[in-house]
């Protein structure tokens, strides 16, 4: 945990130094005509609150990306420290027909971001999915549990260091009772 | 032949009654009760009281015991009970004494008043003189004893109202979400549902 906190602080320091274009107080870039914001995990709730007040009324998607084998990506704003795990949140503004995407550098070993449940309860399942498949912790989530895989599954299969291949049938007397 | 039927029915009635007492499981007890009621219905037929026999089955077996079962299943008390426990000490011997004395009293009274079991079937009894037994029964109830019948009906109605008042319990979310009256408007027909943006 301490490592994560340290890295978070590091990110904050970096963003303070950041001199590029900002929007809602956080660095902003553009990817194929799509607006991408880059808040730090600690800034996430604040940014999303601002966005929500600004008419972004729906959280369309929450997912995560594991950049283990692709560390040197170029599309981050200069000065932002890339981390292994990134949480991607898509919001939509119905009035203006605009989308915005937030890419949060969640950390390397114990990726942690605050849960958006209190702002958008619709993110509950998506955050559970991100935990299930990537092991990203969402602090303050009301039901932080696996959603797609069995409760007693070990590992997070969409991480890049997890095998793709065939795993024989697993049986457990506990699951699947009626 | 009638004697044979009588003996068989008596055996059914008695074994059923005994079963009600002995059965551990309330559902089994209720089933034994049905058995008893059936036996009695056949006994009624033997006495040519066919209407009574049918009503016995329709009302008692068809409605009342079903309600018993309904309650038993709904409340989930359908588990076998341990009969070894006596909530009131000495209740069993006491029951035997009181029960047998009441039985003795009734039998004595009956034997004195009608001078022994007659075995007369109802087709020749007072109720059935002239006309079918349904008609006579109706006549007896709704001509001769109308006041008593109505009084009983009133009593039962009061009992039902009382039971509902006592048992009604308002807690938690009730029925489906508030059904607004407007929902039944014609507006919700799909033809009118299109909203051109």
């Amino acid at each position: 945990m301490t490592e994560t906190e340290e890295s978070n602080e590091e990110v904050e320091e970096k963003t303070e130094e950041y001199s590029g274009p900002t929007s809602y107080g956080v660095p902003v870039t553009e990817s194929h005509d799509q607006v991408v914001l880059h808040p730090a995990p600690t800034q996430l709730l604040e940014t999303v609150t601002l966005l929500k007040e600004d008419g972004f009324c729906m959280a369309i998607d929450v997912t995560a990306v594991d950049y283990l084998t692709h560390p040197g990506r170029k599309d981050l704003p200069a000065g932002l420290n890339p981390e292994r795990f990134e949480v991607v949140v898509s919001l939509i503004n119905h009035d203006q027909g605009k989308r915005v995407r937030l890419r949060v550098q969640a950390g390397t070993d114990n990726p942690t971001v605050p849960s958006l449940f209190d702002l958008f309860p619709g993110t509950e399942a998506m955050e559970r999915e991100a935990w299930d498949l990537f092991g990203v912790v969402f602090e303050g989530h009301p039901d932080h549990s696996r959603i797609l895989l069995p409760d007693n599954w070990e590992g997070h299969p969409l991480r890049k260091d997890h095998e793709v291949g065939r795993i024989p049938v697993q049986f457990s007397p506990e699951v699947g009772r009626h | 032949m009638e004697l044979a039927v009588f003996i068989i029915c008596s055996a059914i009635v008695l074994s059923g009654a005994l079963g009600v007492l002995i059965a551990n499981n309330p559902v089994h007890a209720a089933l034994f009760l049905v058995e008893t009621l059936f036996g009695i219905a056949v006994l009624f037929i033997l006495l040519d009281a066919t209407f009574l026999a049918a009503v016995q089955v329709v009302v008692y077996a068809g409605a009342i015991v079903i309600l018993f079962l309904f309650v038993i299943m709904l409340l989930g008390v359908d588990r076998a009970e341990d009969l070894g426990i006596e909530p009131i000490s000495g209740q069993r011997p006491l029951t035997i004494v009181i029960g047998s004395s009441i039985l003795g009293l009734i039998l004595t009274t009956l034997l004195i008043s009608v001078s022994g079991p007659t075995g007369t079937s109802s087709s020749v009894s007072e109720v059935s003189l002239g006309g079918t037994n349904t008609k006579n029964l109706g006549g007896t109830l709704f001509h001769d004893h109308l006041f008593a019948v109505e009084l009983t009906a009133l009593l039962l109605t009061v009992a039902i109202v009382g039971a509902i008042t006592l048992a009604r319990r308002l807690k938690g979310p009730l029925q489906p979400l508030p059904v607004l009256e407007t929902i039944n408007d014609e507006e919700s027909l799909p033809e009118d549902n299109e909203d051109v943006e």
Binding site: R103, I147, L148, D151 | G76, L177, S188
Partner: protein, 430 residues
């Protein structure tokens, strides 16, 4: 947001609750303990009932954990993952050309939409524009697919309410659309027809007549559905006022598609953020009024009519030209060229073995599938396979509305609600 607008949308308070929420937040062990704990049952007459995952009305393998009092549903929790296929992991091992094969198996009732979302995303990453004919073919096929998907809904919805004939009728009409699909794509479902760069093949000869025939067959059958269902008192009784949701709740729960529109909130990506050529055709966005199951049913029924309207216009507006982009790097050469040209052979070989490289970057593109917003998020590291491919399945998100819609209803209402949300488990579990 102004106050007036909030009033219009309603109060979303219910969905924000952590405690006393309609969502049953129990895990497996706690639920099993509650099931075994018979004393607890006696105390407050509540019981935990498991519905599924092989229950006839749970549309495949959805499992619901219901907390019931008698037959009234108090809280519930959709338990999913029984069809988890690991498609997002598989996608990382497939090239961009093969990717459509993978995503098409997600929403198996409307496979073309997943292909479309995937292809549009890849095209955006590649910065290419497909020829107009490809765009219009895509629109034609997608709208037909929307028709077949909604017909399937009509069938299953009828079945879930006990109208057995509706099941057969819905399938009968769907079969007509599938025949056309088979003619065009070679398959009845899981077509892999829309690919990055265009579509797999041009429309076959006589497609216009086939589509016209469909346009003739389906509308009168929809009238029959109206007679059998819409005007049916029992049917209306079963659906009206059941599973009500207001627009604010739907927005908060990120519900899209017919669920959002049923609350009276007009939001359709085809109109409000047009893609393909939807800004060139005329159609209506169907919205409901009360946000109940009946509205969701009626919206789907009328969206079939709207789709047919669009298809009619496509028949007139369909341009001539290429059905896929003429870019050697992305599209394989025609079969005849391979025999003549060494270069074509090499291109063909490269595309089908290694695949084409896509510039580094990440992008999210969404389309309006029959179930709501279907989005595709792809991260490319410059290689021939997507570094990460994520599909935002509308069913997956919409499923969160179930506990809120079912709260306080009877089991039978629960069945109607599940049916009206119309989840496709392949897309939920991916």
């Amino acid at each position: 947001m102004t106050n007036g607008k909030e009033l219009l949308l309603g109060e979303p308070e219910r969905v924000f609750r952590r405690e006393e929420s309609p969502v049953l937040r129990l895990n497996e062990e706690e639920a099993n303990a509650a099931i075994d704990d018979t004393d607890a049952l006696d105390d407050d007459h509540r019981m935990i009932l498991n519905m599924g995952p092989s229950h006839p009305s749970t549309h495949g393998v959805l499992r619901l954990m219901l907390e019931m009092e008698g037959e009234t549903i108090l809280r519930s929790k959709p338990v999913i993952g029984y069809l988890h296929t690991g498609m997002e992991k598989t996608a990382e091992g497939l090239s961009y050309l093969q990717g459509a094969t993978n995503v098409t198996r997600m929403d198996y009732a409307a496979p073309l939409f997943s292909e479309l979302a995937f292809s549009l995303t890849v095209e955006k990453l590649l910065n290419i524009d497909v020829p107009p004919r490809a765009t219009w073919i895509r629109m034609l096929m997608c709208e037909l697919n929307r028709v077949s998907s909604h017909l399937l809904f009509q069938a299953t919805n009828g079945m879930d309410l006990g109208a057995v004939s509706m099941m057969i009728y819905g399938w009968r009409e769907r079969e007509e659309v599938l025949r056309f699909f088979e003619k065009v794509t070679g398959l009845r479902m899981n077509h892999n027809y829309i690919r990055p760069g265009g579509v797999a093949a041009d429309l076959p000869d006589g497609w216009r007549e086939d589509v016209k025939k469909l346009l003739e067959i389906i509308p009168p059958r929809l009238e029959e559905y109206d007679i059998l269902q819409t005007g049916q008192p029992i049917f209306r009784e079963r659906l009206q006022g059941v599973g009500v949701m207001n627009p604010a709740e739907a927005l908060a729960l990120s519900a899209t598609g017919p669920i959002l529109r049923s609350t009276g909130y007009a939001w359709d990506l085809r109109r409000h953020m047009p893609y393909l050529a939807y800004d060139e055709v005329d159609f209506d966005v169907v919205v409901g009024t009360y946000g109940d199951c009946f509205d969701r049913f009626a919206i789907r029924l009328n969206e079939i009519r709207e789709s047919l309207k669009i298809i009619e216009q496509i028949l007139e507006l369909m341009p001539e030209g290429d059905y896929r982009i003429q870019n050697k790097k992305v599209t394989p050469p025609p079969r005849a060229r391979i025999d003549e040209s060494m270069e074509a052979l090499i291109h063909h070989f490269k595309i089908f073995t290694e695949g084409f490289h896509v510039p580094e970057g990440e992008v999210y593109v969404a389309v309006e599938s029959p179930r709501g917003e279907l989005g595709c998020y792809i991260v490319s590291d410059g290689g021939p396979n997507p570094y990460r491919m994520h599909i935002r399945g509308p069913s997956f998100v919409n499923l969160q509305t179930l506990p809120h819609l079912m709260e306080g209803g009877l089991i039978a209402d629960g069945v109607a609600v599940i049916s009206s949300v119309d989840p496709i488990m392949g897309e939920v579990d991916r």
